[in-house]
């Protein structure tokens, strides 16, 4: 990487850092000051503005894993493997946040930490699948084999999501019916201020995803470089 490209990358990532920071500041203001407290659920309903964006982010991240896995098997370029790995890691982190904030919201409202509801169950299974995906990556040495296996699991795992969704849905569900996107259209079920707050929060989390992705991808490339140099050193001695 030459110096100019590095400088340009730096500029782009600075812009991303600042916009993420501003978006998060706006989201915090909206969540804690702007939006009115929900009448039936009380103040704890504000957890939603973290819970839903985290869920969105993790599903988005898993979708990126799927796309990058296909692209890797097709093109066999290390680049896509790096993207898939970074995205899976971020997805698992935010999926964990969903699984922790969910019970913290459910306990005062439903009176139980956990119920075997459709969406909780499918989120838990997704979390397991992608944790196993990351485990698989630690099981084999870096190289083409690890990338290929991980890509296969990335594809198989994502294709499983619709099956998990329907099987668990027919099994049982108590989750609040989707409020943001209902049959009548987008956003009819919610107060406009709440919708706006959720929107800002979604933007903030999405920006955070791209920021983290950029950092993780650069790190992985740096690691490749270190590995390369280590190998060179071993051969030169």
């Amino acid at each position: 990487m030459n110096f100019d490209a590095m400088k340009k990358n730096q500029g782009e990532s600075n812009l991303l850092i600042w916009s993420t920071a501003v978006a998060f500041f706006a989201a915090m203001v909206a969540i804690f000051i702007y939006v009115p407290t929900e009448q039936t659920e009380g103040v704890v309903q504000r957890v939603m503005y973290f819970h839903v964006p985290s869920a969105w982010l993790s599903f988005f991240a898993f979708f990126v894993v799927f796309i990058c896995s296909i692209l890797f098997l097709w093109k066999k370029e290390r680049e896509w493997d790096i993207y898939a790995h970074a995205s899976a890691e971020i997805g698992v982190i935010f999926c964990s946040l969903v699984l922790v904030t969910g019970p913290l919201w459910a306990r005062p409202i439903w009176g139980a930490w956990w119920v075997w509801d459709a969406r909780l169950t499918s989120t838990l299974i997704l979390w397991i699948i992608y944790t196993v995906y990351l485990m698989l990556r630690t099981q084999s040495d870096a190289g083409s084999m690890r990338a290929r296996y991980a890509a296969v699991l990335g594809i198989v795992g994502f294709l499983n999501i619709p099956f998990i969704h329907f099987s668990v849905l027919w099994w049982r569900t108590f989750h609040p019916q989707p409020k943001v996107i209902t049959n009548e259209g987008i956003g009819k079920g919610m107060d406009p201020t709440m919708l706006a707050t959720l929107g800002v929060s979604l933007c903030a989390f999405t920006l955070l995803y791209f920021l983290l992705m950029g950092v993780r991808v650069r790190q992985e490339k740096l690691k490749d470089e270190v590995d390369q140099l280590t190998r060179e050193k071993h051969y030169s001695v």
Binding site: M135, Y149, V152, F163, F166, S167, V168
Partner: protein, 226 residues
């Protein structure tokens, strides 16, 4: 096409002959399934819960756990003696290896299931003969889905460091939908619901089977590549 089928049959046949000579796998699978059922029977009180409600879950737990033994062996045996390399060097497509293994896994598991079913009937006091055909159909669909995904992941796991541990860890979360579907369907079949009464579950299972066999055909080349 004929060549393809005969190649697949050759690989499946090879597994049967090996098993007939050594008789290692089948006995172990059967005893293991029996043990799983026993452990569940000890952990529940059959005079309190209805046998027809817990029965299907226990039956499938036994099938899956002992089926995993078979899957674990199917590629590891090849790995041990370097036979996998031989198979890959054979002038055949990689999908041939997949289908051969799929068929041998499927048939081993099916035979084991046929032995377990009468015992299940006796232990749980459920009359399965009344609804035998729907039940067998459901078991066929479930076993096919299990073997389709299981064979793919078994070929993948056989190259990993902790292969015996990794196979179930990889496989079980992905099997959740089919396990739910199949346990529900078995319960309904035992209660006398006709197949037309569970079309949603059948649709789910059939599409699971088709999609995963398709994905395996497309990705097996990338797994068995040295």
């Amino acid at each position: 096409m004929n060549l393809f089928l005969s190649q697949v049959a050759a690989i499946a046949w090879k597994d049967f002959v090996t098993e007939l000579k050594s008789r290692e796998l089948f006995g172990a699978m059967f005893i293991f399934a029996l043990l799983v059922i026993l452990i569940f029977i000890f952990s529940i009180n059959l005079s309190v819960v209805k046998a027809s409600e817990v029965g299907p879950g226990i039956l499938w737990a036994a099938f899956l756990f002992s089926g995993t033994l078979g899957l674990n062996r199917s590629f590891m045996l090849e790995q041990e003696n370097g036979c996998l390399m031989g198979l890959m060097l054979a002038p055949a497509d990689r999908t041939v290896i997949y289908f051969g293994k799929l068929i041998s896994n499927f048939i081993f598991l099916s035979i084991m299931e046929l032995f377990i079913l009468p015992l299940f009937m006796i232990f749980f006091n459920i009359d399965i003969l009344e609804h035998l055909l729907p039940l067998l159909f459901v078991i066929f669909l479930g076993t096919l889905g299990f073997c389709a995904l299981g064979t793919l992941l078994s070929s993948l796991a056989s190259n990993l460091k902790y292969r015996e541990i990794m196979l179930p860890v990889l496989l079980y979360p992905l099997l959740v939908p089919i396990v739910i579907a199949v346990v529900r369907m078995t319960g309904q079949a035992l209660n006398g619901t006709p197949l037309s009464g569970m079309m949603n579950w059948i649709g789910l299972t059939v599409s699971f089977d088709i999609i995963y066999i398709g994905v395996s055909i497309m990705t097996i080349d990338h797994i068995l590549e040295e």
